[in-house]
Symmetry: C2
Subunit: 225 residues, 2 copies
């Protein structure tokens, strides 16, 4: 089975949208596009019967999502035991202003991935994952930095989640008002929202004569993917 012929695996009774199913999508292209456009996810897991939702950074390599952190934290410690988790990525694209309060909405793209994370223990694999985090956020940054030492790699827990059960949900376009409301003298439409970089702010201990690197200027111009 080739990578992109396994689309139907991603749709299961647990990931199938129960409402507004026209907004749902289950193919890898759509899901990967949304995943690759972000760098912060929210991970849901259960500890002592209580669900927790914790934000963390992530990167995709092939058909796996990678997360990392200290194994001393609540999340990584729990996740490394192979419990069921949910990893959700959400992009807010616009406020949708309808003529009726009821039909106000938000244009967004989100992905939900269900599964169990597994620890990445091989040193090279861990290093590859850490490189992916940096390069996923700011392409070009990794080459310039001091790379992780053996001790740092040991102190970092890296987990990977196979993308096998997932769904995307997307809302785009105009508000949908009730037919009789279209006659109202009220402005309606969408207000786009985008995460935009400001001016790079140098570290208070930055050495003199170090210019802002080209890849950062390009990132600033382009914004997050």
């Amino acid at each position: 089975m080739t990578k992109h012929s396994s689309e139907n695996q991603l749709k299961t009774p647990r990931t199938k949208l129960k409402r507004l199913s026209a907004r749902g999508s289950y193919d890898r292209e759509t899901i990967y596009d949304i995943l690759d456009s972000g760098f912060i996810c929210h991970i849901g897991f259960v500890a002592d019967g209580q669900p927790y939702v914790i934000p963390t950074s992530y990167a995709r390599i092939g058909d796996h999502l990678y997360i990392h952190g200290s194994s001393a934290g609540r999340m990584l410690g729990n996740l490394s035991r192979g419990i069921d988790i949910c990893l959700t990525v959400t992009h807010i694209d616009a406020l949708v202003l309808a003529r009726s309060a009821f039909h106000h909405s938000i244009n967004y793209r989100s992905v939900v991935v269900l599964g169990k994370a597994e620890p990445v223990t091989d040193e090279n694999d861990k290093n590859t994952a850490l490189k992916a985090f940096t390069e996923h956020i700011i392409p070009g940054r990794w080459a310039e930095t001091r790379w992780p030492s053996k001790l740092e790699l040991k102190a970092t827990s890296v987990l990977r989640l196979p993308i096998e059960e997932a769904s995307a949900k997307i809302r785009t376009g105009d508000p949908k008002d009730d037919e009789e409301d279209y006659e109202m003298d009220v402005w309606a439409g969408v207000l786009p929202l985008r995460l935009i970089p400001g001016e790079p702010f140098p570290d208070s201990r930055l050495k003199e004569d170090i210019a802002i690197p080209q890849y950062l200027l390009e990132y600033k111009k382009r914004g997050p993917k």
Copy 2:
């Protein structure tokens, strides 16, 4: 007990930060400031043993958070049964570029609230909550819209979550590099990120001669709170 003397209630063994406790905060002022600066949360809940994390909009009124949706959906249907949930709000403020790959980080503010949601059934209370959603996102919008009908109120599930067990986690400022890395000739610092509104885009069926309202121009200039 006055509202702001009950701070210690919010810190419990379940919300106490296990790592980097200097980043943690448990007072209502800090937590409410972060909650009021956003409009999208991620809600974690368990259904058939599987945790789910779903993005949704919210608004705070006093010491409660309100969410809404269709009771036909997976989330509202489950939540209205009074199960344990986690509501998390995250703001990404900046990328933090350290000299070492290992110390790269993100400046952020997040809040985690644990508890059980309860249905809001009174029609006036539901209406007040729906007004809060609209006004929380775009102050000034509610007055101009067509307000919810009895039928619409009935079709909408509104739930509220008391803010009784919560924590905030905040990272700000410069990267923290290992002492020996400060000598490296590598740019280090922070790159601020902010959700910024673009140009309002009129609905394809907008009536002629309806100008963009003043509150929307102000929102566009100011951005999300």
